[in-house]
Amino acid sequence: MSYVAVKGGERAILNSQKLVAENRRGNPKVSELSLDQISEQFGLAVDRVMVEGSIYDRLLGALALKQAQGDALEAIFLLRAFRTTLPRFGVSAPIDTGAMRVRRRISATFKDIPGGQVLGPTYDYVHRLLDFSLAAEVSVGSAEANAAEEALDPTMPRVIDILGQEGLIEEEREGGGEVFDLTREPMTFPAGRDQRLQNLARADEGFLLGLAYSTTRGYGGAHPFVGEIRLGEVLVEIEPEELGFPIAIAEITVTECQTINQFRGSAEKPPQFTRGYGLTFGHCERKAISMALIDRALRAPELGEDVRHPAQNEQFVLPHTDNVEANGLISHFKLPHYVDFQAELQLLRRLREEHEAAKDAGATQ
């Protein structure tokens, strides 16, 4: 079967793109959204696009969302494509989440923790009822939050480090060697923790959430406790070659989740809790918890557990987390496959003819 090139449809494509632009704009009598409006008022949508698009830049995230008509996956794809046009100036020193300027910090394992339970901005304790006052488009009263007399202690110790002091939880030790970078190297197995965490940080939130859910429903046996979730700002420090000293070039918002999981011991070591880790740009708690659960599940071989469930299997999880890749393959099925299909059709017709012929031959015998 030779390949038949098909041309055509250029005008249709152009006009389709114009139609998208018109639909994107919607009713011209309704005022157009500005990037600031999207960034400020759809902040969590921008956060998701930044973390999965893997570029921290609020206005770029807002632009991508505007262009994609609010479709998160399309916006993420746009950011990933954009990043390939930019040079890389360098890598930062690892951010210090222990020095985070905390805006929210809770622990599900200890009630009384140094610095206290700080709810910050959360939907955790609200009724999921539609608020029709927001539909009025005129603010009813001020949206200004209450402020305490005293600011929070700017830095709070990590809850999990308290367990660490007693040796009740495994220690996270610095690894050595080159840090794996998925943007420059293909995925390899067995994957190191660095490769897995980078993969999970960019992963599709929905996919991770579903997988994390599976581990708690008998397909992974995670038994997690959320040791701590913290949200706040951390400094990003780089050391430019021409300067020779580090500068804190930016402050970014991140969400961190540390889970405490079932304990293990060995002949040499007394039983200890194990841990899972989640870290995201912006305020993405659901993603951070899911990431921590999957991080822990993927550590099964390292901790001597049997790999029996999908969430524990890195060759299943890691190649399927990326929604740009997944969307690329799944969506390509809607593009023209005329020639492939014709081949299948011809084959099927021949098989049916042969089937008929065989049946006839059987009947005449």
Binding site: Y56, F89, V118, L152, A201
Partner: protein, 140 residues
């Protein structure tokens, strides 16, 4: 430099309005790029790549040879240029050091402290005060 890097573009622009006629040459014109932000597993363990952020950088030289560098978050080239100019002027011998510290750096610092202070007080207002419920009437 950190204070200049983390400044808000609008505020730095209005604070440096008077610096329009300072002659300089670009050593590196403002360019936009990425910095890979790294984290550590568990906050203290193995280093991994979290994701990238946009950064704009530039370098310039004043007439007396003083060099200034600008690194700012985001994609605003003017912002990086202003940061580099102030950085250079601050290093200039017998120049505007004290004046610039008072005119530019101090207000930027104040702004940062105000912003973080307000956030800290609002967060503090969401701190949970636990209290113990008393059960029923105590039998005498």
């Amino acid at each position: 430099m950190g204070i200049l890097s983390r400044s808000e573009a609008d505020q730095l622009a209005s604070l440096t309005k008077g610096l329009t006629d300072v002659p300089f040459v670009w050593l590196r014109k403002p360019e936009i790029g990425l910095v890979m932000v790294r984290g550590r597993a568990g906050g203290t363990g193995a280093i991994f790549n979290l994701g990238e952020m946009t950064v704009t950088r530039c370098a310039l030289q004043l007439e007396d040879g003083t060099i200034g560098h600008g690194y700012v978050q985001g994609r605003n080239k003017q912002h990086a240029g202003r940061a580099a100019l102030v950085d250079a002027l601050l290093q200039q011998q017998g120049g505007h050091h004290d004046g610039l510290l008072a005119m530019v750096i101090a207000p930027l610092k104040t702004r940062e402290v105000e912003r973080t202070g307000a956030q800290g007080r609002k967060a503090a207002a969401t701190k949970v005060d636990f209290f113990t419920m008393v059960r029923g009437g105590d039998p005498e």
